[in-house]
């Protein structure tokens, strides 16, 4: 999903930056609030960021015969929402743009918008829907991670199509989605399984904190005593 440095014309580079600004501001305020008011959540925030760090560094092979990387944003999107995830993703994308020549500074706005905002937003609202349907939390985390990953690449395709529409925007979208969409499916599923595993573990080790983050009342019963002692 990295759009390489200089590959978006100046207008579009500025356009995606502008769309990111409110999320950066809101996200920074949220992160500040977590540090000040909920220091007990800091470790979970760090781990959520760590998932983005690891997964977005892995270029994985796909059945289509090309390689692509997961985004790792699902966990953070579900637990902290998409503005905080935008901040975490920006850190990773700046690291990759400056040190790895992967993505770029002119395309940072577009890359943050796809990976840090729309993907995680799709993940977050998926979480809301699945929670309404009473799907189990680890299973929800799986679906959230898969869709956050996949949506990111659909947005990248749209961004490239808008910048290079040719004669027909729809055709252009198909060209770019053709590069990313199918390749990404098995990668997104693999990422989803990893995040499912971790969420399953997290629910066992910190049930109370996770329920606090998700704004749910801890269910009375097994595990609660342990959780209280640990929190």
């Amino acid at each position: 999903m990295h759009i390489m440095e200089g590959f978006l014309p100046p207008f579009w580079a500025a356009f995606w930056y502008a769309l990111c600004i409110p999320f950066w501001i809101w996200g920074a305020l949220q992160v500040k609030k977590i540090f000040k008011e909920h220091p007990e959540q800091k470790l979970i925030l760090a781990v959520s960021g760590a998932f983005i760090f690891v997964l977005s560094s892995l270029k994985l092979p796909s059945v289509t015969g090309s390689s692509s990387h997961p985004t790792g944003t699902g966990l953070s999107a579900m637990l902290f929402g998409f503005s905080v995830t935008a901040i975490l993703s920006t850190i990773v994308l700046v690291f990759q743009a400056l040190l790895l020549a992967h993505g770029g500074i002119t395309t940072l706005g577009a890359d943050v918008f796809s990976m840090g905002i729309v993907g995680p937003a799709v993940g977050y609202y998926t979480y809301r829907v699945l929670r309404g349907l009473k799907v189990s939390l680890p299973m929800t985390a799986f679906v959230v991670a898969v869709l956050a990953d996949w949506a990111t690449y659909l947005v990248t395709s749209l961004q490239l199509a808008l910048a290079f529409p040719g004669d027909n925007l729809m055709h252009a979208y198909m060209v770019f989605a053709g590069v990313f969409a199918i390749t990404q499916i098995p990668i997104a599923i693999g990422e989803g399984i990893l995040i499912w595993m971790f969420f399953d573990f997290l629910l066992k080790s910190r049930p109370k904190l996770i329920h606090q983050l998700l704004g749910m009342k801890t269910q009375a019963g097994a595990g609660q005593k342990q959780a209280e002692a640990g929190a």
Partner: protein
């Protein structure tokens, strides 16, 4: 099924997902999709010239080192967290036994 068995099975599925491509599509080059995206730009708008080049492009060896470093940073944090939590749960279990 015990937790570790469940996790091990899940990991095996993940490994399979990323190993199957080499079996069913062994002759492919597995180039990066990001690069293919840039190539598709050329197809959509032949002759497009990037208007900015990266400030710095690492040599290939340094690039793979930095990718590994990025994964190592994230992996260390996750490993630290899992170890920390497991030790904490273990201690609580012991504490609870003593209290009885």
């Amino acid at each position: 099924m015990k937790d570790w068995q469940k996790y091990l099975l899940a990991l095996a599925v993940v490994v399979a997902i990323f190993a199957i491509p080499f079996v069913v599509n062994g002759s492919a080059k597995f180039g990066g999709a990001d690069m293919a995206g840039s190539a598709a730009i050329e197809q959509q708008q032949p002759g497009y010239q990037r208007w900015v080049v990266p400030l710095w492009t690492p040599p290939p060896e340094t690039e793979s080192m930095l990718f590994a470093l990025q994964a190592a940073i994230g992996g260390s944090i996750i490993g630290y967290f899992v170890g920390h939590e497991r030790a904490r749960m273990e201690m609580e279990r012991k504490g609870a036994k003593k209290a009885e």
